[in-house]
Symmetry: C2
Subunit: 431 residues, 2 copies
């Protein structure tokens, strides 16, 4: 933009909005030194005008509960959408574009669901739709994929993208807690929301993964067909057993490219303890990328929080606000990105961890390993643990690489055996 | 740039130049999809035309040993300086600017020494001088500081910026090797040059640190006054002792900001084994940043090599090549960045590791700890190891936080004691 003052309209003034306002106040002179621009928050759309606010950005900012006050203000250059939710946010962004305003958003769910429509609209209007804050908080993964690694073909992305889930798994690992106790701890620390479903069931990570796939591959992977598995079923026992074998359990979002086809999903997986993502603990996020030129690259930082996420929103505002800023929303030039060429998820090949629960009687190990052999699943390690009075004996198998499809059909057969007393637990192992 | 084909002139065609040419060939269609631009290497300046080249980028590229062929070609949009060295490269860049050409360079020594002059010249001519490849190879640290974290005040940068030194220290640590053996291994693996002085004496890391300070703080820290200590004096014994105490020795480049003043230096230091940089092994680089909004952020990747460094050069070319690309060379708007406000390096406060070598006789520990007390150095741990026949007994002290100044004067006194049989070894400990 060729003006000296960039006028912002904030829609939503919760954690991230307040964080953004604080940073702009605290670092305002610095921002001006960097960009030659003054950032002014002129209007803030809130739901409840009567709510007491811990922080208001200067006397010039006007709080309003009427969206028209933002949209119809011709001075506002950038609408910063921090409301969350789908319908209202979608409508706000559409109308902001109609009014010729750029949009910065942290709304991962909306971009995952309606990204194609919104990017097409932005493309048509030649406006910015920027979203660094939507993935991994303060970690600059969006710009890294859009610009810094743009000349690479990305062959894989493996991410710990949800801080709540990672905190819970870290607590379970370090303290031997069960899921519910660790979830309560996350709530107490402010890392889990009142309704943590999106975080613990993997959907939040799925939203972010769809955004990363778009940035890395220039392709739309429909959220509705992305395989997503959360961590609410994870047992302390499997975390302890994994540790015995030298692994740690993490909620992973992954996409791998094989000759132009994409394999993607969100799932809990075992990582070897010397894996670069294995030490990412607590509420932190981290993303390991591999590019055909750059090789492996890893980024690490806080995936949430007022200031880290505010920092990412601010980066977008500053990028859009620079003189002669070209618009680069998706990292590609097409108005609409093509649908991803998707590999049937069950064809993906991994190493695997199984924990069977069986009666302690002769022939069990032989029957189970026989079924695995029939399904071409080669066993790398098998350990039978002592169980209570010969019942519910845990048997752990670590396998060599095998297709998920083979794993699923083997497990179907195995879990039908009368000596198997509980459904078999299965996790993938990343290398 | 508003043209569909970006014409490049390469100056230098060694490892990185060849890597860049390979990536452009391999990923050319992808680059076009991303930017709408075709990248063409038109001319390549080499020293020796008769040398057999493993790779030539298509029939259209002309090799020449005459710099005029690059400079006087009006079609060339970007000169890519990959020659290294100071004088010739400086001259080439100056003259490229005179001819109105943008410059992309990987030349950290030149930018550290002559950055201020070159950035001023680029500013005057409104031309790009981009240098992502100059620091940490493929890791996008330059763009991260220039754009993604631009709204942050950076409070500290702690980096492992030299892959050769890190490889040597990793070998010494994992195999108990002495410095010379590990250096030979680095040479054998192609990680050390014939003359490894710049790498092992810390100057290469110092060049990169000066560039990072400029990007993070908008200030010029003269290379000539940056305290730099390398690793050629590191003994296997100290690495082993550090490990006993739970630390690992790394060559660290660091800048810390205290109320607008900068403390910076390159030095070997002990990191706790659970420090996020402690696991950065072999030829990898990593940078841990702290921003006043984003908190801690870590980037990790390959700090050298044909394709990773080529990937960084390519990122710069693509950024400059985009339509309506604004120029952002330093991340600040000033023509000349001010000199950094520098804290006297000896005033820096760290925890410390000392290894004294002493005769095994009564009163030694008391005399030494007495001197430390007089210098306000508080001891956290002290261990006396058995030595050969009561001579050359190693005594290790780990201290609480103390000023370097106090440490240096205490060591001066201690090393004068007649029972001290060798100069005391001292490293800082990072937390």
């Amino acid at each position: 933009m060729d003006k000296k003052t960039i006028i912002l309209g904030l829609a939503g003034f919760g954690t991230v909005g307040t964080g953004l306002a604080r940073i702009i106040q605290e670092n305002g002179e610095w921002i001006e030194r960097r960009t030659g621009k003054k950032l002014v928050i002129k209007k803030i759309l809130v739901r409840d005008l009567s709510k007491v606010r811990p922080f208001i950005p200067g006397p010039e900012a006007i709080l309003t509960d009427n969206v028209q006050d933002l949209l119809s203000d011709p001075e506002i250059d950038i609408v910063v959408e921090l409301m969350g939710g789908l319908e209202t946010a979608l409508e706000l962004i559409r109308r902001s574009f109609e009014k010729g305003k750029h949009v910065v958003t942290a709304n991962k769910a909306l971009l995952a669901e309606k990204g194609n429509e919104l990017f097409a609209l932005a493309h048509e209007k030649k406006l910015g739709l920027y979203y660094e804050a939507s993935v991994a908080g303060g970690i600059p993964i969006v710009q890294t994929l859009k610009d810094s690694l743009a000349g690479n073909r990305i062959t894989s992305i493996t991410g710990i993208l949800n801080g709540t889930a990672n905190f819970i798994l870290s607590e379970m690992t370090s303290k031997g807690q069960d899921f519910i106790t660790a979830l309560d701890a996350a709530r107490e620390m402010g890392y889990a929301e009142a309704d943590p479903t999106l975080d613990i069931e993997g959907m939040d990570a799925a939203h972010k993964l769809v955004i990363l796939i778009r940035l890395a591959h220039g392709a739309d992977y429909p959220l509705s067909i992305l395989p997503v598995q959360g961590i609410s079923g994870v047992k302390a026992m499997d975390i302890a057993l994994a540790a015995e074998f030298g692994y740690v359990l993490k909620l992973i979002a992954q996409v791998r490219e094989k000759s132009g086809h994409l394999q993607a999903g969100v799932f809990p997986a075992l990582l070897p303890m010397d894996h670069i993502l294995a030490k990412v603990d607590g509420p932190f996020n981290s993303i390991l990328l591999k590019g055909n030129a750059v090789g492996p690259i890893m980024l690490y930082g806080q995936g949430a929080g007022d200031l880290p996420t505010g920092s990412a929103v601010l980066a977008d505002i500053m990028t859009l606000g620079r003189d002669k800023a070209g618009i680069n929303n998706t990292g590609f030039r097409e108005k609409v990105l093509p649908r991803a060429d998707i590999v049937e998820p069950d064809l993906a090949v991994y190493r695997h961890y199984f924990r069977m629960t069986a009666l302690d009687k002769p022939g069990v190990l032989s029957a189970v390993s026989g079924v695995m052999g029939e399904h071409n699943i080669s066993i790398a390690q098998a350990v039978q643990k002592p169980g209570p009075e010969g019942r519910d004996v845990p048997i752990v198998f670590l396998t060599h690489r095998a297709q998920l499809k083979a794993v699923y059909s083997a497990l179907q057969v195995i879990d039908e055996f009368e000596f198997i007393t509980a459904p078999t637990v299965h996790y993938r192992i990343l290398k």
